[in-house]
């Protein structure tokens, strides 16, 4: 059993310590909003926050986050920034297939939590690790600007 704090709640995951956080979340805690895309930290679909920082949960052993605060897409709407990002995503209908969008949103929340008014270059730097095969990038960029405006 690994003791975790997920979305503000203490949780126990019945998994081996080497299990990636991704699979502990998905298979043990049934928080399936965080997605598997590559298993190698290359696509960003599995992005969650650990102590407020976006990390790739597919290459993060669950044992390494014991005692730390993990937050996932399921709790994205609980924070002011997260709510603004979700609202912007919905207002602009960013999603297509939607599979990568949990990761996109978690990366966007990470960006807007540190940069209140990101430039296009800031967006490129923060979001280039998140692949979208549907290429919804135009709207991701617009939605980040939109959320920043709403938060100002």
């Amino acid at each position: 059993m690994i003791q975790l704090t997920i979305n503000g709640k203490p949780q126990q995951a019945d998994v081996e310590p080497d299990t990636p956080l991704l699979w502990a979340l998905r298979d043990s805690l049934l928080l399936t909003g965080t997605k598997y895309g590559c298993g190698a930290g290359l696509c960003g679909a599995c992005t969650v926050h650990v102590d407020g920082q976006p990390v790739r949960s597919c290459v993060t052993p669950v044992a390494s986050v014991a005692g730390k605060k993990v937050s996932t897409i399921e709790a994205a709407g609980d924070s002011r920034v997260g709510k603004a990002v979700q609202d912007a995503w919905r207002k602009l209908d960013v999603v297509q297939c939607g599979y990568c969008q949990s990761g996109q949103i978690m990366s966007a929340i990470g960006l807007l939590s540190t940069k209140k008014k990101p430039t296009d270059a800031d967006i490129d730097a923060a979001m280039a690790g998140n692949l979208c095969r549907c290429a919804t990038y135009v709207r991701i960029r617009a939605a980040i600007h939109e959320a920043a405006k709403a938060l100002a």
Partner: protein, 733 residues
Amino acid sequence: MNPIQNVSRRHFLQGVAGLTLGIALPAVSQQAGAAEAAVAGTPFEPNAFVRIGTDNIVTVLSKHLEMGQGTYTGLATLVAEELDAAWAQVRVEGAPADARRYNNLAFGPMQGTGGSTAMANSWEQMRQAGASARAMLVAAAARRWNVPATEITVREGVVSHAASARTVRFGELAEAAAAEAVPALVTLKDPRDFRLIGRHAPRKDSVAKTDGTAQFTQDVHLPGMLVAQVVHPPRFGSRVKALDATAARALKGVVDVVQIPGGVAVLARDTWTASKGRDALVIEWDDSAAYRESSDQILARYRALAATPGKTARKDGDVEAAFQGAARVVEASYDFPYLAHAAMEPMNCVVQRTATGLEVWNGEQSHTVDQAKLAALFGLAPEQVNIHTLYAGGSFGRRASTDSDYVREAASIVKALEGSAHAQVPVKLVWTREDDMRAGYYRPLFHHRLEAALDKNGRIQAWRHRLVGQSIAAGSAFEPFLVKDGVDHLSVEGASSLPYAIPNLQVELHTPTDIPVPVLWWRSVGSTHTAYATETFLDRLAVSAGQDPVALRLQLLDKHPRHAAVLRLAAEKAGWGKPLAKGKPGERRGRGVAVHESFQSFVAQVAEVTVKKDGSLRVDRVVTAVDCGFAINPDIIRAQVEGSVGFALTAAFYGEITLKEGVVEQGNFGEYGMLRINEMPRIEVHIVPSAAKPTGIGEPAVPPVAPAVANALAAATGKWATRLPFVTRQFKA
């Protein structure tokens, strides 16, 4: 006759009150009744398009897969428009597999999603379903209030009688409406009265896809479920010679190891344990019957074939004679690699054997093909295979596998468990990214050779186009419809349909049959390569004749007004003919155009590029004009074009699956690159207003992107890119 029928009674049997409308099946209705009785007590799947519950929720059953293209929203828009429902009360669910009720009208007796046909084939059917339901709600209200139906109005989910100031919501009328007769005929709205169609109806999946609740196959968790991961053969055609599963079986959480036709599967309680078990397998492969060629060997063979006449796909005039009389001949060859679909959700499928049949959970794109294959595997009738359609995390054609490969693989694991303690547990097959990328089912590798004969004034007198590549349809259930006289339409579409007025035109095809690499449709199919070859070659001819590429095309498109209209619009909006803003010192800039029809939609694109000294490049801007008939949801059309541009640029910049001695060299996004946000150009989308029947938009904006960019690169550098992906060192200053 109105094809919509009332199937509400089926709901009453299940204790769900309300109005449900399906599709009339006069010839089989008795059989359907019998089937109903037989399956009473199993989970109820309404064979219907519209369900209005006493809870005031309108549920639209989508016969098509939502894989990102916006189908759920589009189909719901059609129903809600004619029903006069409030958009907020409308939900969408995937329909079960049923070729009789949910067939794609463009495919015949087959349920499936593809060829950008969803909106086109549903345009009337879904509106009729909505209009029929509306008429029954009105009839029920008229009866309740004892007023003429003609005095009743419906708006935003509320039925009203103005004279008596009475109103009632759909939900309160649903039970009464179910008892009304289905109108024999319904009149659809005049487009001028549309309130949802042609306007902005927000996507139905935006909320669930932004809070983690959208259910993909990957997300299915069922009681007792096992997760399976599979080791596939290293080469196409390799077989297991010896298997040692001792270490895998010894892992805590590994439940079983089974051999299946396509490899070896490890079953475990969770995904991570299954993958560790899989890594612990020791397998010796027998490669004696395996395919061992490399991509460059295939290409060399294709080039040799292209020097010889192929099967005729189109023949206008006398090409030979025209070449003999030519003042000048221009020729070019093009190479296109295998491409993986690489949907963000790697292939997966959940299958459970039950006492009565098979339950399947899948991002199902080819419902009845997969249903038939699974039924055959287990000796069941197709209707005993019940498919739950979930969201697909992308597909681009991959989930419409012609031979149901990954779906059969999941089922064959379940079959291998027959007689064991786990014979009836649900099994979720989870492919890794590497499995997904190496399993084949690629856009086929193609080689093209083009030759044109010009007269002394530079006019095109003859055009010969030879293509070499594997057939997608051959050997599949689609072969009878798609292969004629040895020519697979999917190999030559876009080339054999060249719209330009050229008096002597011949298109020939070679279809090698000795390459066992599985190939499949990939977003925009044949046009992924034919548009590139034809549209860059035409630009070459324009340049060699000193003609403007837009002007030359317009001259040759005299009889194709829809091509010409999008071309004019894109050129105008892009400022064609005006000088491009200069780049930074050392940068070269260029503008290029392409136009192409696919899936009965017409798209023209103008691309602007900047090339640096070292040959590296960026696409700055892509202006698109599209004519896809009546624009049901302009915002989704724009979204599909934006996505198509990124999808096409990924292929142009990075997309390449290569074989080395039969082994696929790419496995993950490190080797098979994807366009990232920082590489995305500015995109402008212009939709041609049209009253024509809607046509597709999921695919048609993909084909012209790469040739427009290549033509822009040639304008900037004078170099023609004759292979994809681009080799940027060729553009070095």
